[in-house]
């Protein structure tokens, strides 16, 4: 019975983590779909958003969950500016390979991390909200429960937030004209131009939206994690693994990929050892590349398109 309890608790923690991972992956896959490049500054953008949330909390006492509504718009603007003034000029130079845009994002990430180190030092910081220790136990709700499970309030709130943001994004992409333009551009950018879509503007908007989403993820993460300038790289890798596992540019793939990665990491920590979680992450990465090169999206696509 204890073993079952441990397993279920690990599964629940994994899903909660996976919900946040899905949000990080969604931001990257959105940019990937439209731009056809991997944004390797993704984690650093999240780090910037976390500093915004941190300073809002420390200086003004703004709750990190409220900070979502400030950090996301701020990062949206930053993303649009990066796309418009840094990435688009590189696209226009025809002799440069598309890989150079990816290298450019690596550079942007480095600059952001270095700036954070210069301004905020490499101290570990956190936002000790006063409800951090609130935890719900299954036995509080169901007295005779044969097993015991617990969920921390912070994780639960972060998870619910990430689901709400995911739903909002789904609604936006499927119901609004701008959302349809984003999807059309990612499916066929030349045809999109012929239909009167200003592809450059859609790209800038998508980069902004992807940045805003990962900014939201950052705000949801900060009550749960420590913040330091070099934190971005780790999350860029996580987003990258999710994007590959989910299938490049696929939103549903990113959500499922994020959940799988969360559960897998949680399982590795419980059954193999805390330090092994990153190893599990890369085991999944390699397995996806070898056995499912198109990612989860290729499975879904073959079912939906019947090919």
């Amino acid at each position: 019975m204890v073993q079952l309890e441990v397993f279920l608790q690990t599964l629940v923690s994994g899903l909660l983590l996976g919900g946040l991972y899905a949000l990080i992956g969604l931001g990257m896959t959105l940019i990937m779909g439209v731009m056809k490049i991997i944004n390797l500054a993704h984690g650093e953008l999240m780090m910037v958003a976390m500093y915004i949330a941190y300073w809002l909390f420390t200086l003004l006492g703004v709750d990190p969950y409220v900070a979502v509504f400030i950090a996301s718009p701020a990062l949206f603007i930053l993303g649009v500016l990066i796309q418009k003034y840094l990435i688009t000029p590189v696209i226009k130079v025809e002799s440069i390979l598309p890989e150079n845009q990816v290298i450019l994002t690596v550079g942007i990430g480095m600059v952001l991390a270095s700036l954070a180190t210069v301004f905020f030092k490499s101290d570990y910081r956190s936002t000790p909200v006063d409800y951090a220790s609130v935890t719900w136990y299954l036995s509080d709700f169901w007295q005779n429960s044969p097993i015991e499970l617990s969920i921390s309030l912070l994780w639960a709130v972060s998870f619910v937030f990430s689901i709400l943001i995911t739903l909002a994004l789904w609604f936006f992409l499927s119901r609004t004209d701008i959302g349809k333009q984003i999807r059309a551009t990612s499916q066929d950018s030349d045809a999109a131009i012929l239909m009167g879509i200003n592809v450059n503007r859609v790209r800038a908007f998508s980069f902004g939206l992807g940045s805003a989403i990962v900014a939201a993820a950052g705000c949801l993460f900060i009550p749960l994690y420590y913040l330091y300038p070099a934190l971005g790289g780790q999350f860029t890798l996580i987003a990258f693994v999710i994007t590959i596992l989910g299938g490049l540019g696929s939103n549903i793939g990113a959500i499922i990929g994020g959940l799988i990665l969360g559960v897998f990491e949680s399982m590795t920590s419980t059954y193999i050892g805390m330090g092994w979680a990153p190893v599990g992450r890369f085991a999944i990465f390699i397995a996806a590349l070898v056995f499912l090169p198109g990612g989860i999206a290729s499975l879904l696509k073959s079912r939906r398109l019947g090919k």
Binding site: I193, L194, M195, I197
Partner: protein, 234 residues
């Protein structure tokens, strides 16, 4: 309505279009015919602004358009239905039609137009919630034309609309083109199916290796020795 004046087009260092000039008048169906690689699609892509001419001008409705943003041409009433349909495969039929009507007047009249398209292509109505990628080739072509019509064009450019379709569907496509034309649409069509194209076109231009070699009334070209030998196989 459309005037192409002395355009030269390059892909990198390679010149593919040499000093081509031609025009399309209001209400006409004009065909560009020629072999594979003659430059027919390149000319349409140049008019649409996907490729830029090194020399020459393109004038539409009295306005020089080759310096305009390519995405704004559709608002002037110029729509390009590209080769191989180029639908958005993971969007539904209806969403594809929505994408055809993003701007100006077309957006305001989206609902009315959509009903008209569904009237023209009842098959699309049955499948309006289906993903475009799951349609058959013929249905995809109908959707591509429908998506083009959604923008309320004055001039419709069709690139190889019969490509890869079964003979009965080819007939259907040409029937639709005639119907659209009878409602006052001007059409510029690029086709390898020369016989049927000349049958519905008013005038035609023959393109060989990037140069215009012949032009005239479609009916005359259909009886021309050279055209018959090179394109009609008789």
């Amino acid at each position: 309505m459309l005037e192409v004046k002395n355009i030269d087009v390059f892909y990198g260092d390679l010149q593919v279009i040499f000093d081509v000039s031609f025009g399309v008048n209001k209400g006409e169906v004009v065909a560009l015919i020629g072999a594979n690689g003659a430059g027919k699609s390149t000319i349409l892509r140049t008019i649409s602004g996907l490729v830029h001419p090194v020399r020459g001008d393109i004038v539409f409705d009295g306005q020089t358009i080759n310096k305009l943003h390519n995405y704004s041409l559709i608002e002037l009433g110029l729509v390009h239905v590209p080769e191989a349909r180029r639908l958005f495969p993971e969007m539904t039929v209806e969403e594809n039609l929505d994408i055809g009507s993003l701007r100006g007047q077309a957006k305001k009249q989206r609902k009315v137009n959509k009903d008209k398209i569904f009237e023209l292509f009842p098959r699309l109505l049955e499948r309006r919630r289906q993903l475009a990628g799951t349609l058959s080739g013929g249905e995809q072509q109908m959707l591509a034309i429908g998506r083009g019509l959604m923008s309320l064009p004055k001039l419709m450019m069709l690139d190889e609309p019969s490509l890869g379709l079964a003979p009965i569907l080819v007939k259907e496509v040409f029937r639709v083109i005639e119907q659209v034309r009878s409602e006052g649409m001007t059409v510029l069509i690029v086709e390898q199916n020369v016989k049927q194209t000349l049958a519905i076109a008013d005038r035609a231009y023959v393109l060989e290796n990037g140069k215009l070699v012949m032009s005239g009334k479609a009916a005359d070209l259909a009886n021309d020795e050279h055209v018959r030998a090179a394109y009609l196989g008789v």
